[in-house]
Symmetry: D2
Subunit: 197 residues, 4 copies
């Protein structure tokens, strides 16, 4: 790992503009379930601010580990670059494209993270499956019923994967004067898939 953080950089450390960002606890669980190790080849689809890409790059660092971050939004491209620089990460390659475009020419992958799929989940999963090594993992974060259902349908129809699904809700209890008061965050579905063939 590089830098002072292990896993779970505080939200406030990222440069983010107004681009939505995966919250710390969801990032931690996503990265942990992806099981990224030094030397791993990782693809982050719909990288947004690059918060997941940065966490992944820290885990993959060493032994030639690399994170490919695909993002269609130009503002996001700038933020990924800025965050990679801020955290001193030289193993993130930024690809400005709308996936599955941008997934050509990638090496064999250990891990695919899918935070955003822009209504093209199936072709992205098809292409990811071709790139993924046996034993590799796909971890998806879903915030809508439709994306979750597409993902579950895909995994159920495929014989390549086994998967597990959790829905995680994190309530932050903020210190307000002499009180600790609940502040909810939206629940996220995390689907962790392992390529078994």
């Amino acid at each position: 790992m590089s830098g002072k953080w292990g896993i779970g950089i505080p939200d406030t450390e990222f440069i983010r503009g107004k681009v939505p960002m995966t919250k710390q606890e969801i990032r931690i669980l996503t990265i942990a379930k992806a099981g990224i190790r030094p030397g791993d080849m990782v693809l982050d689809v719909g990288a947004g601010t690059g918060s997941l890409s940065c966490e992944a790059a820290m885990q993959a660092a060493g032994g030639g580990g690399m994170v490919y971050a695909i993002e269609r939004n130009p503002e996001g491209i700038g933020l990924i670059a800025a965050n990679a620089e801020k955290f001193g990460l030289d193993n993130i390659q930024i690809i400005h494209a709308e996936a599955p475009a941008g997934m050509e020419g990638l090496p064999k992958l250990d891990v695919v993270l899918i935070g955003g799929s822009g209504k093209r989940l199936e072709p992205i999963l098809d292409r990811a499956g071709e790139l993924l090594k046996t034993g590799g993992r796909i971890v998806l974060n879903c915030i809508t019923v439709q994306t979750l259902m597409q993902c579950l349908n895909y995994m159920r129809a495929s014989e390549l994967y086994k998967y597990e699904t959790v829905q995680v809700q994190v309530n932050r209890w903020e210190q307000v004067g002499s009180y600790d008061m609940a502040k909810a965050a939206n629940p996220i579905f995390i689907v962790a898939c392992e390529k078994i063939k």
Copy 2:
């Protein structure tokens, strides 16, 4: 019941300004756990916009049932009156005071609702206990650890009550284009106490 609503008036029906309001699902559960019946005498402490008072008044209507709504905030006083008028409720008496002030001179009560206690929870519960009939209910909504703990400590120390506690979290799934997307609301602790002596 008066008007077209049973229990659970939609949030958007209330006149509210910027005063925080108990959300529909929490109102429904609070009123249901209070077990308000026609003819009941009800006290609503920290009435805010009067949303709970209005729901309670609909359930208590008939047979002389009455809701006493105590609120310290002048803006709240105006909102309670406006909402009572909007829903055609003539069985709400508004008391502009900071509880336990304003609790003198009330009749014996069937139900006490406590949505806000302004750091005076113990004296409010003391006075509520004097007013409450045997078999009557106190239902509290708590949004901080401290208020919850005070309430539990009080109920555990008292031999007058048995209580049950639930924490309720309601995620609304909003229709955004072709997606249904989660939108969290803050979790609320509901403590329902029955006076058994």
Copy 3:
């Protein structure tokens, strides 16, 4: 309303055997969102133990209000009858069938509750739509992603309805010695649909 309960009979009051039962808080929210009023004609599909049927029957009582409870499981049929008798409810008609069978010959309906659909959700919703009055409500409880998705797809494709979806999670905080300790219950999706045409 008949009997001593308003809305939200405690779980322990029902005769239930080993048949799964809708928990109190979910029953309360389901019945409240259904907006059942005295005189209403209500259909409960997949009635199970009859817990929702009993609550609905209490709200519909008076003015000829009636609840039709369809259940395919013979054990359930016995439990519905036993619970109706226990709560002194004479406005529940039990139909031993697997919906949409059993939905012929019903009168026009104000409310349809769907707790269980046994993989036949679409034909049940088709038939419910024919029976439902304009302004009537369908309220579904879903515990799987698949049933939720089917329901949302149906409502989105239809021009007859508007709908809202909430996911509700209730943690009970049990009194264990000197501690109050969380005990989770499974989250439920409640989809409340109004027939607008």
Copy 4:
């Protein structure tokens, strides 16, 4: 890190008997918030099955990093030893004592994990504070209102710490035939404290 796991060993991999065990997602978040790095000195109070100790030991491995696991229950002691052996971890020292007993003679610590405090939270925190380096972290898992409140009261009264609190609820969506069905787990409060002086 040693072995094949990064962070987040599957629950089924641990030898556990009937001793309660911190679930995978909570372990992941606890370890991540503790920010354990190679070479760190870690204390695990109320180690139970040793699941947190094992995860901590993997993160602390290298550079002399060590985990001290205190547990009062003899069955737990055996399980910690069995799990350490299973995962090939030689940097866990097991201490059979009821904390704060067993905390004498420990070196300066980078991290203290508190999963169980057996009603002695204050003296445990007092002693932990003496052992903890400036910049070190205490991470507590609380499942009762009372333990949470004690912890928050302690941290609020102390000038040594800043803290953050999250409540995490993880619903597992199990594959049951053609359905994915919610299975709730109890919510946990995680309080992460940093010693700032």
